[in-house]
């Protein structure tokens, strides 16, 4: 047993920025309390924004419109490629355009409950309020949302709610919203208000006199490591799902920016809260590099089943009806195939663990449309799901109109992230985290179509208001000296790390270590977690880390475009983050949302929350690599939505 689990509990955390009073007035109150920066003074302030997804792109554009000098970074070749682009389904907003009883309060209520009572009421209410402004903003930018024949916007329903509040652009809502933000950012680049550094990756944070004052970043083309200084730093670098190796995240999405900030003093909250999406295309073999999502909407008409007998390897259409187990319909008759994501994912894992999974390696279940085709006709099914069926056919070379789809759960989103206060400021003054990079709004489980809403709320509306307060209280005084010890130390650490990666010259590739840690995390910190498994993972991770630094092989040099070096450096941080995720999962001896501890379940296998012990956000303070971190608890208070146990049977 390593010392790592022997953590200490430090001072509780309090969100000092959130106003009290009626929840519906708190955002107005805070905006009025926040100090402002005179428009003429704004151009004297430089703000660094790292990332150009929905949160970063919208924040960079808006801060530049306000008059700040923005220096923005993305590791992709263009800001338009940030992974927000891949979001399919839609974006929620409490517009009540359908006159179906929706309201800001209902969206607030659904989101707190959907998060299994592990999110802050103040933040979630603000999110619901802002949701309506987001749609207005995006339409004004020319985002081509789906419309009806009368020319008004169309809506659809999503899981876990009883109203139609999801705005969408076919299956490419994320792409269209991202292009809106990218275009707004492009306008500011052309105007000279945003200085963009593409193909440049943040590798460390520079903290001077306790405040975030810049970053260390590497030009991925030349390999040159450089420093950039500012009056505040905003991280919009997304989630850390790629710690699992296989996920629906883009290949290059990574945790380095937030992990390096964590090492510099930013607390990391609820790292074990990960969302595993039930309907993804299963892996086909060891060569698999990533997983592809199939929209949740398919569960409206598809029926999920596996053979009743173990090891039944007959083709699906040769298995008679009475030898099939429609297990979701059997276990959860009230909700059937439309149970929430976490329930559906765990049930699929259980039947596969029993040896009843289908397809290569037995890691899959059927999603069958035969009944829907018989009921509605093939044409109707084509109309509703045609593009998804085509995508499935392209990847698997199977025709889902004739044989059932095979699906399996996959890591999709991380609710945890850097701890932030109501102003979205981390525990390092001057360092802000927005979008998926922070932990704030989704609790232990995110509802569908809420990630886009949160990214744009943070970037367009929340951060541009709250950062004023920090900058007004910390007026630009003197330039940072490149010779300051805090700067030279951060640069030296980064360069030493890269040089060491190049120098080891071992016999294993960066990908082989990434796959190893990913498989370990999937097994022990995935859909179902146990104390024993988490302890085993915590025992093995330091050994993998030790082996990494002994056997890693990175060809080439640091002074060139070197994708192996980029990858190896990201794996270094996964090997530390994985350990914290397991510790967080171990310490939270309850089940809630996406975090399922087998020891904490109801007699019928549902997640059993333990509010009396765990109604808090767990924010971890870094001490040293492999050393126990310090736990700081932020108590969650529910004044408006009272915690209840979920039931779907």
């Amino acid at each position: 047993m390593s010392d790592y689990t022997n953590y200490r509990t430090g001072e509780p955390l309090v969100d000092a920025k959130a106003p009290t009073g009626p929840v519906a007035e708190r955002w107005d109150t805070r905006r009025f309390q926040a100090k402002l920066v005179n428009p003429a003074n704004r151009r004297k302030h430089t703000v660094i924004v790292v990332g150009t997804g929905l949160a970063g792109g919208s924040a960079g554009a808006t801060l530049a419109e306000q008059g700040y000098h923005v220096v923005q970074f993305c590791f992709q070749d263009s800001p338009r490629r940030a992974h927000s682009v891949a979001a399919q389904g839609g974006i929620n907003a409490a517009k009540n355009y359908r006159n179906d009883g929706d309201s800001v309060h209902r969206l607030f209520y659904d989101t707190v409950k959907g998060g299994d009572f592990r999110a802050r009421e103040s933040n979630v209410h603000r999110l619901a309020e802002i949701s309506v402004e987001i749609i207005d903003q995006c339409v004004a930018q020319g985002v081509p949302f789906a419309r009806e024949y009368g020319g008004l916007l169309d809506n659809r329903s999503f899981g876990g709610v009883q109203v139609s509040r999801t705005f969408y652009a076919r299956g490419q809502t994320g792409q269209q919203l991202l292009l809106g933000a990218y275009q707004a950012l492009s306008r500011q680049i052309a105007a000279g208000n945003v200085e963009l550094h593409a193909r440049t990756e943040m590798l460390d944070l520079i903290v001077v006199d306790g405040k975030a004052r810049g970053i260390v970043a590497r030009d991925l083309v030349t390999g040159k490591t450089d420093t950039y200084f500012a009056d505040a730093v905003v991280l919009a670098t997304g989630g850390y799902g790629n710690v699992f190796y296989l996920s629906t995240n883009a290949m290059n999405s990574n945790a380095t920016a937030i992990w390096r900030a964590h090492r510099r003093g930013a607390y990391f909250a609820n790292p074990c809260f990960t969302q595993i999406h039930p309907t993804c295309i299963p892996r086909t073999g060891d060569h698999q590099s990533k997983l592809t999502l199939m929209s949740e909407s398919l569960r409206n008409d598809g029926r999920i089943w596996v053979p009743k007998a173990k090891g039944d390897d007959r083709p699906a259409n040769r298995i008679p009806e009475d030898e099939r187990d429609y297990y979701l319909e059997r276990i959860y008759p009230a909700f059937g195939n439309l149970v929430p994501r976490d329930i559906a994912s765990r049930a699929a894992k259980n039947v596969c663990d029993e040896g009843r999974g289908v397809g290569p390696g037995g890691q899959g279940v059927y999603l069958d449309f035969a009944e829907a085709i018989a009921r509605m006709g093939r044409k109707k099914v084509e109309e509703k799901y045609g593009n998804l069926f085509d995508m499935y056919a392209r990847i698997t070379a199977e025709n889902p109109y004739e044989t059932p789809m095979r699906i399996y759960p996959a890591v999709h989103y991380t609710m945890g992230g850097l701890w932030v206060d109501y102003d979205l400021q981390t525990t390092i003054p001057g360092l802000f985290a927005i979008g998926e990079a922070n932990f704030s709004d989704h609790g232990a489980n995110r509802l569908g179509a809420s990630a886009l809403m949160q990214g744009l709320a943070d970037g367009y509306f929340v951060l541009p208001s709250t950062i004023n307060d920090y900058l007004a209280r910390n007026p630009h005084t003197e330039e940072i000296d490149a010779g300051h010890p805090a700067v030279t130390e951060a640069v030296a650490e980064t360069e030493d790390r890269l040089n060491l990666l190049l120098a080891v010259d071992g016999d294993r590739t960066p990908d082989s270590f990434h796959r190893e840690i990913g498989e370990l995390m999937w097994e022990f910190c995935g859909m179902a977690r146990t104390e024993q498994g988490l302890r085993e993972a915590l025992d093995r991770i330091p050994r993998i880390r030790e082996e990494f630094w002994r056997r890693i092989k990175v060809p080439g040099t640091g002074e060139q475009f070197n994708q192996s070096l980029e990858k190896a450096n990201r794996v270094v941080d996964y090997l530390e983050l994985a350990e914290l995720m397991c510790l967080d999962a171990l310490h939270r001896a309850e089940s809630c949302g996406g975090h399922f501890r087998e020891e904490s379940q109801t007699p019928d296998g549902e997640a059993a929350r333990r509010d009396e012990e765990f109604s808090y956000a767990a924010a971890w303070e870094f001490s040293a690599t492999g050393d126990a971190p310090v736990l700081h608890k932020e108590d969650l208070v529910f004044e408006y939505v009272h915690p209840t146990q979920r039931s779907y049977a």
């Binding site: 930018q141 020319g142 024949y149 290059n252 990533k290 475009f561």
Partner: protein
């Protein structure tokens, strides 16, 4: 499957490049083309060689990063992105040529990676609607007729991969530019900047060194998102109209 790959290797923008030949074995038909290249790269790293550099990210056909000319075709034999191309489109024993996008406006960065920032500069020249945050009226204030909204969406689907340029014998960026012009100019929100948008974007496109359009149609054939060829004629009409209007 066992394959012979002939891959363009080029150390950096200044260095000369050449095709290099590699054998790969044990390739599964279920692999994507990029996973086949991953397999090659794992072997290259272990043998102490530098892996082949290529751009890729989402591997779902939406980010537009991947960009390979395969056997002379941008994105290869299927009408999709390189990342969604699978090895079942090839035969055991095939020899496959893999090259970067070839266009003077897309200089090679390394191996199969090119610099497409010229596309970003075309967008910066006018590929947006000026709507600063906080200024928007209610989303339902201006209804948009469904055919216009659908047309805007059809053009907005462009992923900015650059296959149109790579496929064009002239290295023209007309399809890319017209996709954005038509997306925004058809919408009522885009009307106030309609003329300056098309004039400025076309001027920047020319300045960036893209070739002229002779309507060969290769662009629309290579486009993984199906941006239609008439998009170009629609932009030409917009450009002529804008010129007339501005001159007046």
């Amino acid at each position: 499957m066992k394959l012979t790959l002939r891959v363009w290797r080029q150390q950096n923008a200044e260095a000369p490049g050449a095709m290099a030949t590699y054998e790969v074995d044990g390739i599964s038909q279920d692999m994507s083309f990029l996973e086949m290249l991953d397999t090659l790269n794992e072997e290259l790293i272990l043998s102490g060689d530098e892996p082949v550099a290529f751009d890729h990210d989402c591997r779902e056909g939406i980010c537009g990063a991947c960009s390979l000319v395969i056997n002379g075709d941008a994105h290869g034999p299927e009408r999709t992105t390189t990342c969604q191309l699978h090895m079942r489109s090839f035969e055991d024993g095939d020899t496959i040529d893999v090259e970067p996008w070839r266009a003077s406006a897309f200089p090679v960065v390394k191996d199969l990676v090119v610099d497409r920032s010229s596309f970003d500069r075309i967008i910066q020249a006018g590929g947006y609607i000026s709507a600063p945050t906080g200024t928007a009226p209610d989303a339902h204030a201006t209804p948009v007729p469904k055919p216009d909204a659908d047309s805007a969406f059809e053009h907005a689907e462009c992923i900015g991969c650059g296959a149109c340029v790579a496929a064009c014998p002239n290295g023209s960026a007309m399809l890319f530019t017209s996709a954005k012009v038509n997306h925004l100019n058809v919408l009522p929100q885009g009307a106030p900047e309609r003329e300056t948008r098309v004039l400025d974007m076309v001027a920047t496109m020319d300045d960036e060194g893209f070739g002229g359009c002779t309507l060969t149609g290769e662009c629309a054939t290579a486009c993984p998102k199906g941006i239609p060829l008439p998009s170009i004629t629609a932009m030409n009409k917009e450009w002529l109209r804008a010129n007339r209007k501005v001159r007046r």
